[in-house]
Assembly symmetry: C2
Homo-oligomer: 103 residues x 2
Protein backbone atom coordinates (compact mmCIF):
# COMPACT_ATOMS: atom_id res chain seq x y z
CA UNK A 1 0.00 0.00 0.00
CA UNK A 2 2.87 2.35 -0.75
CA UNK A 3 1.07 3.49 -3.87
CA UNK A 4 0.03 7.10 -3.75
CA UNK A 5 -3.61 7.99 -4.16
CA UNK A 6 -5.21 11.03 -5.68
CA UNK A 7 -6.39 12.43 -2.39
CA UNK A 8 -3.19 12.16 -0.39
CA UNK A 9 -2.59 15.48 1.26
CA UNK A 10 -6.10 16.60 0.51
CA UNK A 11 -8.48 16.99 3.37
CA UNK A 12 -12.00 15.75 3.83
CA UNK A 13 -14.06 15.16 6.92
CA UNK A 14 -11.41 17.02 8.98
CA UNK A 15 -8.85 14.36 8.06
CA UNK A 16 -5.38 14.76 6.58
CA UNK A 17 -3.91 11.66 4.93
CA UNK A 18 -0.11 11.55 5.04
CA UNK A 19 1.84 10.35 1.99
CA UNK A 20 5.01 11.36 0.18
CA UNK A 21 4.11 14.86 -0.94
CA UNK A 22 6.26 17.74 0.36
CA UNK A 23 6.11 17.95 4.16
CA UNK A 24 4.71 21.49 4.22
CA UNK A 25 1.65 20.42 2.19
CA UNK A 26 0.46 18.43 5.17
CA UNK A 27 1.26 21.17 7.67
CA UNK A 28 -0.75 23.59 5.55
CA UNK A 29 -3.59 21.07 5.35
CA UNK A 30 -3.78 20.80 9.14
CA UNK A 31 -3.57 24.54 9.70
CA UNK A 32 -6.24 25.26 7.07
CA UNK A 33 -8.67 22.89 8.78
CA UNK A 34 -8.27 24.74 12.07
CA UNK A 35 -8.28 28.24 10.60
CA UNK A 36 -10.15 28.57 7.28
CA UNK A 37 -12.59 25.74 8.07
CA UNK A 38 -12.71 26.45 11.81
CA UNK A 39 -12.56 22.75 12.72
CA UNK A 40 -12.52 21.80 16.41
CA UNK A 41 -10.61 18.59 15.67
CA UNK A 42 -8.31 17.44 12.88
CA UNK A 43 -7.42 13.78 12.40
CA UNK A 44 -3.99 13.02 10.90
CA UNK A 45 -4.01 9.55 9.34
CA UNK A 46 -1.21 7.39 7.95
CA UNK A 47 -0.27 3.82 7.11
CA UNK A 48 3.01 1.88 7.08
CA UNK A 49 6.18 3.87 6.66
CA UNK A 50 4.26 7.16 6.65
CA UNK A 51 3.38 6.75 10.33
CA UNK A 52 6.64 8.43 11.42
CA UNK A 53 5.79 11.34 9.15
CA UNK A 54 2.30 11.65 10.64
CA UNK A 55 3.87 12.11 14.08
CA UNK A 56 6.20 14.77 12.63
CA UNK A 57 3.23 16.59 11.07
CA UNK A 58 1.31 16.50 14.36
CA UNK A 59 4.27 17.75 16.39
CA UNK A 60 5.35 20.50 13.99
CA UNK A 61 1.86 21.82 13.29
CA UNK A 62 0.81 21.85 16.95
CA UNK A 63 4.02 23.14 18.50
CA UNK A 64 5.63 25.35 15.88
CA UNK A 65 2.80 26.65 13.71
CA UNK A 66 -0.26 26.65 15.93
CA UNK A 67 1.82 27.68 18.93
CA UNK A 68 0.26 25.19 21.32
CA UNK A 69 -3.28 26.47 20.67
CA UNK A 70 -4.05 22.84 19.74
CA UNK A 71 -3.12 19.64 21.57
CA UNK A 72 -3.03 15.94 20.88
CA UNK A 73 -6.40 14.67 22.09
CA UNK A 74 -6.23 11.04 21.03
CA UNK A 75 -3.94 8.58 19.25
CA UNK A 76 -5.14 5.25 17.87
CA UNK A 77 -3.06 2.53 16.26
CA UNK A 78 -4.38 -0.47 14.40
CA UNK A 79 -3.43 -2.83 11.60
CA UNK A 80 -5.14 -4.04 8.45
CA UNK A 81 -4.62 -7.25 6.52
CA UNK A 82 -4.97 -7.41 2.77
CA UNK A 83 -3.67 -9.32 -0.24
CA UNK A 84 -0.78 -7.71 -2.11
CA UNK A 85 -0.26 -7.74 -5.87
CA UNK A 86 1.14 -11.27 -5.74
CA UNK A 87 -1.85 -12.49 -3.74
CA UNK A 88 0.07 -12.84 -0.48
CA UNK A 89 -1.48 -11.86 2.83
CA UNK A 90 0.29 -8.84 4.22
CA UNK A 91 -0.37 -6.56 7.14
CA UNK A 92 0.06 -2.83 7.47
CA UNK A 93 -0.06 -0.71 10.63
CA UNK A 94 -2.13 2.46 10.78
CA UNK A 95 -2.26 5.50 13.02
CA UNK A 96 -4.84 8.22 13.65
CA UNK A 97 -3.73 11.26 15.61
CA UNK A 98 -6.49 13.67 16.67
CA UNK A 99 -5.46 17.27 17.28
CA UNK A 100 -7.96 19.40 19.15
CA UNK A 101 -8.30 23.13 19.84
CA UNK A 102 -7.50 24.02 23.42
CA UNK A 103 -10.52 25.51 25.22
CA UNK B 1 20.00 10.64 15.92
CA UNK B 2 19.95 7.74 13.48
CA UNK B 3 23.07 6.38 15.12
CA UNK B 4 22.53 3.06 16.80
CA UNK B 5 23.26 2.69 20.45
CA UNK B 6 24.50 -0.30 22.39
CA UNK B 7 21.23 -0.91 24.15
CA UNK B 8 18.86 -0.79 21.21
CA UNK B 9 16.64 -3.82 21.40
CA UNK B 10 17.65 -4.52 24.96
CA UNK B 11 15.11 -4.00 27.63
CA UNK B 12 15.33 -2.17 30.89
CA UNK B 13 12.67 -0.73 33.13
CA UNK B 14 10.01 -2.59 31.10
CA UNK B 15 10.98 -0.58 28.03
CA UNK B 16 11.90 -1.78 24.55
CA UNK B 17 13.81 0.71 22.37
CA UNK B 18 13.20 0.24 18.65
CA UNK B 19 16.12 0.55 16.22
CA UNK B 20 17.33 -1.25 13.11
CA UNK B 21 17.98 -4.70 14.49
CA UNK B 22 15.96 -7.60 13.05
CA UNK B 23 12.25 -7.11 13.63
CA UNK B 24 11.80 -10.31 15.63
CA UNK B 25 14.36 -9.16 18.22
CA UNK B 26 11.91 -6.51 19.34
CA UNK B 27 8.93 -8.85 19.31
CA UNK B 28 10.90 -11.26 21.49
CA UNK B 29 11.87 -8.39 23.78
CA UNK B 30 8.23 -7.43 24.32
CA UNK B 31 7.06 -10.99 24.85
CA UNK B 32 9.88 -11.73 27.31
CA UNK B 33 8.89 -8.75 29.43
CA UNK B 34 5.34 -10.03 29.73
CA UNK B 35 6.23 -13.69 30.21
CA UNK B 36 9.69 -14.29 31.73
CA UNK B 37 9.67 -11.03 33.68
CA UNK B 38 5.92 -11.04 34.33
CA UNK B 39 5.60 -7.30 33.66
CA UNK B 40 2.13 -5.73 33.82
CA UNK B 41 3.10 -3.03 31.30
CA UNK B 42 5.71 -2.80 28.57
CA UNK B 43 6.64 0.53 26.98
CA UNK B 44 7.78 0.47 23.33
CA UNK B 45 9.85 3.57 22.58
CA UNK B 46 11.18 4.97 19.30
CA UNK B 47 12.44 8.16 17.66
CA UNK B 48 12.33 9.51 14.11
CA UNK B 49 11.99 7.00 11.30
CA UNK B 50 11.76 4.11 13.78
CA UNK B 51 8.33 5.30 14.95
CA UNK B 52 6.56 3.35 12.17
CA UNK B 53 8.44 0.26 13.28
CA UNK B 54 7.40 0.78 16.91
CA UNK B 55 3.75 0.68 15.82
CA UNK B 56 4.43 -2.53 13.86
CA UNK B 57 6.07 -4.10 16.93
CA UNK B 58 3.12 -3.12 19.13
CA UNK B 59 0.54 -4.45 16.67
CA UNK B 60 2.31 -7.71 15.85
CA UNK B 61 3.26 -8.57 19.43
CA UNK B 62 -0.20 -7.79 20.84
CA UNK B 63 -2.34 -9.27 18.10
CA UNK B 64 -0.35 -12.13 16.63
CA UNK B 65 1.94 -13.33 19.40
CA UNK B 66 0.18 -12.46 22.62
CA UNK B 67 -3.20 -13.25 21.08
CA UNK B 68 -4.93 -10.16 22.42
CA UNK B 69 -4.02 -10.95 26.04
CA UNK B 70 -2.43 -7.48 26.06
CA UNK B 71 -3.84 -4.18 24.77
CA UNK B 72 -2.59 -0.73 23.96
CA UNK B 73 -3.12 1.26 27.17
CA UNK B 74 -1.53 4.56 26.23
CA UNK B 75 0.30 6.27 23.37
CA UNK B 76 2.33 9.44 23.81
CA UNK B 77 4.06 11.47 21.12
CA UNK B 78 6.54 14.26 21.68
CA UNK B 79 9.52 15.91 20.04
CA UNK B 80 13.01 16.78 21.17
CA UNK B 81 15.35 19.46 19.89
CA UNK B 82 19.10 18.98 19.81
CA UNK B 83 22.16 20.11 17.87
CA UNK B 84 23.36 17.78 15.14
CA UNK B 85 26.98 17.08 14.21
CA UNK B 86 27.20 20.33 12.23
CA UNK B 87 25.86 22.33 15.17
CA UNK B 88 22.47 22.93 13.59
CA UNK B 89 19.28 22.80 15.62
CA UNK B 90 17.20 19.84 14.56
CA UNK B 91 14.06 18.27 15.90
CA UNK B 92 13.08 14.62 16.19
CA UNK B 93 9.69 13.15 17.01
CA UNK B 94 9.31 10.42 19.62
CA UNK B 95 6.64 7.88 20.53
CA UNK B 96 5.95 5.76 23.60
CA UNK B 97 3.40 2.97 23.26
CA UNK B 98 2.35 1.28 26.49
CA UNK B 99 1.04 -2.28 26.20
CA UNK B 100 -0.79 -3.64 29.23
CA UNK B 101 -2.02 -7.06 30.28
CA UNK B 102 -5.78 -7.44 30.04
CA UNK B 103 -7.35 -8.07 33.43
Amino acid sequence: METTTEFEGNTSDNSVFIGNKPFMNYITGVIMQFTAKNAEDVVIKARGKFISRAVDVAEVSAKRFLDNSVSVKDIKIDSEGFKNNEGRDVRVSTIEITLSKNR
